[in-house]
Subunit: 320 residues, 2 copies
């Protein structure tokens, strides 16, 4: 049976403004991005991935990274993180007073080459330069390891490969590692195994599980991660986001669905779900299409439907 062994409450890290918005066709106006992030800041989230300091040519949807990071209202206790691909991005992120730099590379060589146009060794070298640059600036560092639970081209990725990459960054002073199920290949047994192995080997590291719901297993995998001692979860408002290498697939685990599950199960999580749902309700207009979040459509399980006025007439007729 499910057990949440840690006494630590679950921490929810919103990635929608980066991981979700980056694949939208339309450019979401800077002011709307800032408004959404400001609303999210009041929801009890531990961290918000605000944007990506990538070249505007590479990701036009996030070309306003600097303005967004400078424009948001910081709420004490919330960590404002941003994706940073290289030294140039790190300089921009630091200049915009980003709390945490989130670096990214893939555990699979094929995925790293296709996604980042570098070998894994080249990525490690490039990211370690960013780590060295950030040292002493006060900015925290996290490395997100894509395809940690499998590569859509190569298939299984050995746990030793993932843990070996993590070790190189942790040894250089990186505080957090995110294990990403980039295309939703993980199943609960695998999540328990890799996250458990990570926790045992790196008990001091901040571990985040970044799960996708591509094959409907996002929430099941989250429960398995909790059982393996994970307390930090990336999630995306409305379930925004996806992956270009898994066409037709839904993307990130949906923030409000994940919080709804934890709250229903009595797992401690300090997020204000009604406020989160209020923020999510504006997404379809913002992005111009429906979003996959299910609690947004169905309501929370404890939100009851009104009894129809006809009930008493039905009862009277039945009993006649």
């Amino acid at each position: 049976m499910f057990e949440h062994r840690s006494s630590h409450p679950i921490l929810i890290q919103e990635v929608g403004p980066r991981d979700g918005f980056q694949i939208e066709d339309c450019f979401i106006p800077t002011a709307d991005k800032i408004d959404l992030i400001d609303a999210l800041s009041l929801c009890g989230l531990a961290k918000i991935e605000v944007t990506s300091f990538t070249s505007p040519k590479a990701i036009p949807a996030l070309a306003d990274a600097d303005e967004v990071m400078r424009g948001i209202r910081r709420v004490p206790g919330v960590v404002y993180t941003a994706l940073v691909p290289n030294l140039r991005g790190a300089e921009r992120a630091l200049a915009a007073n980003t709390d945490e730099l989130n670096l990214v590379m893939s555990a699979s060589e094929t995925h790293n080459l296709l996604n980042l146009r570098m070998t894994r060794e080249q990525s490690v070298a490039r990211l370690l330069k960013v780590v060295d640059l950030a040292r002493g600036t006060g900015a925290a560092l996290n490395v997100s390891i894509s395809t940690s639970f499998g590569c859509p081209m190569e298939g299984a990725v050995p746990e030793a490969t993932v843990l070996g990459l993590a070790e190189r960054f942790l040894a250089r002073g990186v505080g957090g590692i995110t294990l990403c199920d980039t295309t939703g290949m993980a199943h609960p047994g695998q999540v328990a195994s890799l996250c458990g192995a990570f926790r045992a080997r790196f008990p001091e590291a901040e571990l985040t599980a970044h799960l996708h719901n591509t094959r409907g297993l996002g929430l099941s995998n989250a429960l398995a991660a909790v059982e393996a001692g994970v307390v930090r979860f990336d999630a995306s408002l409305g379930g925004l986001g996806g992956c270009p290498y898994a066409p037709g697939a839904t993307g990130n685990v949906c923030t409000e669905d994940l919080v709804h599950l934890f709250q229903a199960m009595g797992v401690p999580v300090a997020v204000d779900l009604p406020r989160l749902l209020a923020a999510a309700r504006g997404l379809p207009e913002l992005v111009g299409h429906d979003v996959p979040g299910q609690v947004l459509h169905a309501g929370r399980s404890q939100d009851l439907h009104p009894v129809p006025a006809s009930l008493e007439a039905i009862r009277a007729r039945a009993e006649a």
Copy 2:
């Protein structure tokens, strides 16, 4: 961590042709229904809910119940069941050589009144008449208890209410009980609790979990049910189906997503997933809209994507 304690393989019971098709706006031609059920019969499913012997006025989509039940090719080992609301329906089902009569009522008084226009006591009395009629005919009997995990109008339904209803039918000779999460209100802890209590109190009864994915918890709830000793699951091809009292909500747990999860986890389930996916692939054309099944869209996690031809050029450029 997840454990499948039973040595019994998981049995999958397809409900799409009844629970799915009954809410479709279009009338699916009888021959197409029969073709689909015949294809499903070759997939390793334990049971198929073929149709509902309801009044054609109540459910026009299944007005061809008799022709469908008589027209399908029976495969030995597969149980062909049908929903039966009353004595008239039972007579029709028995005349069409239905293997099992599936009776239905709600655990919640409000839902029973709205859905069946009867009090629960009236439903019990009516269904027990069907039980008595079927005795000695060779047909098996199952009772599906709707809103076992909560009523969208009343909220929580006490476990004692559900188990007390089950007991009245089991005492009269009914062999199987299905606990239905009709509007997807259940969470894994609750599923473990109610299914565990059922198994402990009625160890000889055939117990089925009928789960919905309304709030994204269908598969998580299924894993919790397996841990509680449940081996029978209702599921609907493509995730067809829903509930009129939970507007905008997705419906039944998707058969191919459920089988995919079990197979990924190494839980024994004798279903031919590629064949099932082939049958599901025809659904959007059959019902005239997309279906929520996720493995249908994303493919199985072990189905790899081809490495793009450009990979070697990318590698060469990176290494140059």
